[in-house]
Subunit: 218 residues, 2 copies
């Protein structure tokens, strides 16, 4: 790998590529966190990195809220509990018992909660690239979440994406502006344990799922 | 950095983290490709990596089509041309002239075209995590696109995400199953040039946009 000068494109050697694959494979969705605090400057540094993600028309529509208030966190936890109870009702028998035993969020333990939104009122990008696929604005925020996740993991942090949540209620709970759509609610912290296999496999929710990388040709 | 044993979690040192930041910063959306061919085995390897992306309930709903047929590619190009002409009409005067001069896709030159879909009929994941946020299924595919993009860039390949396209017409053009929703149409090839700044800035569409990494607190 050559050094990265300010204006010379970097090249990435086989060793880097192998480590990068390790990063992708060991990323994981984390629900079991240590309660150790995280320096907020580290979160800020990771968001600086996340802000280099692709966004349609360079619109950078991501908005990050650090949810610190205990009362707001309680509201988020109540939101999750209600949605998780409703989700449980969709399963029956053995499957319902399995679901009930899963730990699907680390909202109590994670020292940092990040609510990530897409600002649908942004003027940045001047509409470029999203006339026929307006969902590109939301997708840009998903890419930023994924970048944040990877960068966090490289720093030894775990991230858990909580989607068992009413997104409109959550936006109200954290007092987000009207034009902001919730894309992700993230728990961030140091993981209690690390695994290369998904927790859903380890806990019996699903059999081992081989990676699905089939390439169709037309 | 320690080595990554089969069951020992990897750690990532400062050198790797710096290179990873280079990768994020130099990723870029590419529209200017060399026509040099790419070994399809490399694309397959990159999709193997992409398949390690996070997906809701480990549903892995991504579906990849390698669009090889010249007739299908012509249909895609006609689709893009029509949508781009319609997009141009939304701008006026100087701004329209600027838009008309932008090169917004490398569909003619890129040796590989990948159409990436989300399979809304997949049973994988058994619905877990997407009752209140069904859009999580689409978001999972966005994460896979981003992983593919990063892995491709590490291998020296450029990727351009074409969103100026009618997604339903495109799905028909590549004969995708009914339940597949188009998430991304990707041009892939070796880039003609590499830059750390977005083409939209270099070509005068927008002034320099500082990375937006603001962290709000509630």
């Amino acid at each position: 790998m050559t050094g990265c000068l300010d204006d010379a494109p970097p090249t990435f050697d086989a060793d880097f590529i192998r480590r990068l694959e390790d990063l992708f494979k060991w990323r994981r969705d984390v629900r079991r966190f240590k309660t150790d605090p995280i320096a907020i400057t580290l979160i800020e540094d990771l968001l600086e990195i996340a802000a280099h993600s692709p966004s349609v028309g360079n619109s950078q529509p991501w908005r990050f809220i650090n949810v610190e208030s205990a009362a707001r966190r309680q509201a988020v936890i109540a939101n999750f509990n209600a949605c998780n109870a409703a989700a449980l009702e969709a399963y029956e028998g053995e499957r319902a018992a399995l679901y009930a035993r899963l730990k699907l969020a680390g909202l109590h333990e994670a020292p940092v909660h990040l609510a990530v939104f897409c600002d649908h009122a942004t003027g940045a990008g001047m509409g470029l690239g999203r006339k026929t696929m307006p969902e590109m604005l939301d997708y840009s925020v998903v890419a930023a979440v994924h970048t944040f996740w990877l960068a966090a993991r490289a720093h030894g942090l775990g991230v858990g994406w909580v989607s068992i949540i009413d997104p409109l209620e959550l936006a109200r709970s954290v007092d987000a502006p009207e034009s902001w759509k919730l894309i992700a609610y993230l728990c961030v912290g140091f993981p209690e344990e690390e695994h290369a296999d998904p927790e859903l496999e380890r806990r019996g929710w699903q059999a081992h799922v081989a990676q699905n990388a089939k390439l169709y040709t037309r």
